[in-house]
Symmetry: C2
Subunit: 321 residues, 2 copies
């Protein structure tokens, strides 16, 4: 008889956020990983609200044991512009009032939590970041030896050969804090970047939301409610109520539930100028046309294709919660 | 009996250049247009060498009547870096020694020639630019009323949803003079931008080059020779000797020999910062995903798909010369 592989310790950094909520649910439902901590960062909502949302979701899933730390209230350069209420609601969870957990965030901030977990799980910790990269950058600043203790980093962010979503070329997570993204992508660790090129190809549809609403479980129906406003927002993009699965796709690639089939390992620069390209991830994909897409010395895999649609797999797992 | 439509007057701005040479030949062989003048600009080679090459090619085609003006020796900002000898040869025409025409360029410079032609053919002139946009920017500077007299502008340049060719995101023509490109794309005229997205999809192959070499005509065999080095260069990109048809594709779209089938009319910014995105054309293609790709007030069509492969049509015309 084979013993199952031990669950890999995973730290999630997020700005909860509707699709963050799906990613949290997915990670909790995934036996391959052990969610050992969550940090919040300003992005879809403020960092404090993101932590409250995360604590509420964890409580609904019966996982009050997972520590949640509040992270950076502002990007490295400049002020926080107030999130995306038209996308995620004023409270980040689609203006749904989740049952308040009453739980308190950790005394440490998110960067401190990440550093502590990197020691506790040295060499094993998988870092998944689905918000702006401010907390990761602050942790790198506080302790530049962090990458040596991290197994790998998976990031939802950027756009490679796909238009941006907050400018013609910039994706929201990177655009909120380009300086942080530049620091994280320059650090000496293995990164998998999950950009709009693939997240915009993975959609949750109305019947999927209905299934969540009717699940009869503790968390899933709330996720179905939280998705309502987000579905309406996406009507402007896709012409029908549905939802791009940005953050859950990064989570699923980290877990191994979805596999990247085209993901060249290339140098990625982040535009941190004040010019029109600010916030763009400049992925050097010129090698796609020579048949040699990987670049020597590069440590960032840019996911351009995956092996299967995320939605059925995601739904199957969320319906267990 | 129907009378053929009168040939449209066309000014070509180029940095001749191997693919420029093909574009010149194609335009001379196209009854739909009347090549009323050519300006040279620093790019693939220096502006003076580009004019010499152009005069030599025109003489071989028996078209010494077409005026050729030397244009800008340097980009608007910064120095000319010496061209691309590894791509186009030290002399721009693949290090082939064309029979010297002995012809002299016009007394005017290229910007002056363009302005003069815009008066002579007011409302009719089609401007086709297949090199850096320095001359067009200088003409706009000298006379901001120029756009009112130009029917339309077709530009080979930029990369929209395709990697660049001189940086991860920048194409050579725009990268040589981003300040000029920004000015040209901000001017009040109708522009068709023909970027790498489509030019890299249109290739000339070895049998095509053989056909040119064996044409038994005045110009075509020389074009076949000129292509030799360029074919070798492209081996590094495509894994075989062949040639991307950058400049001739822009010429063919201007003439109507190839039709753009997907060409959203969008706002295009040029990155003229000193950051990693310098020289990028930032085409706002977010509307592709909403089903409303055209943007109100935008005057630049970005060509993303065309109706047919250029090579057979190009070859058919070049073989007549």
């Amino acid at each position: 008889m084979t013993r199952p592989a031990p669950a890999r310790p995973l730290y999630l950094d997020c700005d909860t956020g509707v699709d963050d909520a799906l990613a949290i649910g997915y990670l909790l439902a995934s036996p391959e990983v052990d969610l050992v901590g969550v940090g919040s960062v300003c992005g879809n909502v403020g960092a404090e609200q993101g932590a409250v949302n995360t604590l509420d979701l964890l409580a609904l899933a019966g996982r009050r044991d997972v520590p949640v730390a509040v992270g950076a209230p502002e990007p490295l350069a400049g002020a926080f512009h107030g999130g995306a209420p038209g996308v995620h609601g004023r409270n980040g969870v689609g203006d749904v009032e989740l049952p308040p957990s009453g739980a308190r965030p950790a005394a440490q901030d998110a960067a401190e939590l990440l550093l502590r977990l990197s020691h506790e799980h040295a060499g094993q910790l998988h870092v998944v970041a689905v918000g702006p990269l401010t907390n990761l950058a602050l942790a790198l600043r506080a302790d530049p030896t962090l990458p040596a203790r991290v197994r790998e980093v998976t990031i939802m962010g950027g756009a490679a050969l796909h238009p941006g979503n907050v400018s013609p070329v910039a994706e929201a997570n990177i655009a909120v804090d380009p300086e942080a993204a530049a620091a994280v992508l320059a650090a000496d660790w293995d990164v998998t970047l999950v950009p709009l090129d693939v997240t915009m190809e993975n959609l949750l549809e109305e019947p999927d939301r209905d299934a969540l609403l009717e699940a009869g479980t503790d968390l899933a129906p709330w996720l179905g409610q939280v998705l309502d406003l987000y579905f309406t927002f996406h009507e402007g993009t896709f012409g029908r109520r549905c939802s791009a699965l940005h953050d859950p796709l990064a989570a699923a690639i980290a877990v191994g539930g979805v596999t990247a089939t085209v993901a060249p390992r290339v140098h990625v620069a982040v535009d941190d100028t004040r010019g029109p390209g600010r916030g763009q991830t400049l992925c050097d994909l010129r090698g796609l046309y020579t048949g040699h897409p990987d670049q020597p010395g590069a440590r960032c895999r840019v996911v351009l294709e995956t092996d299967r649609p995320l939605a059925p797999h995601l739904l199957e797992r969320l319906l267990t919660l």
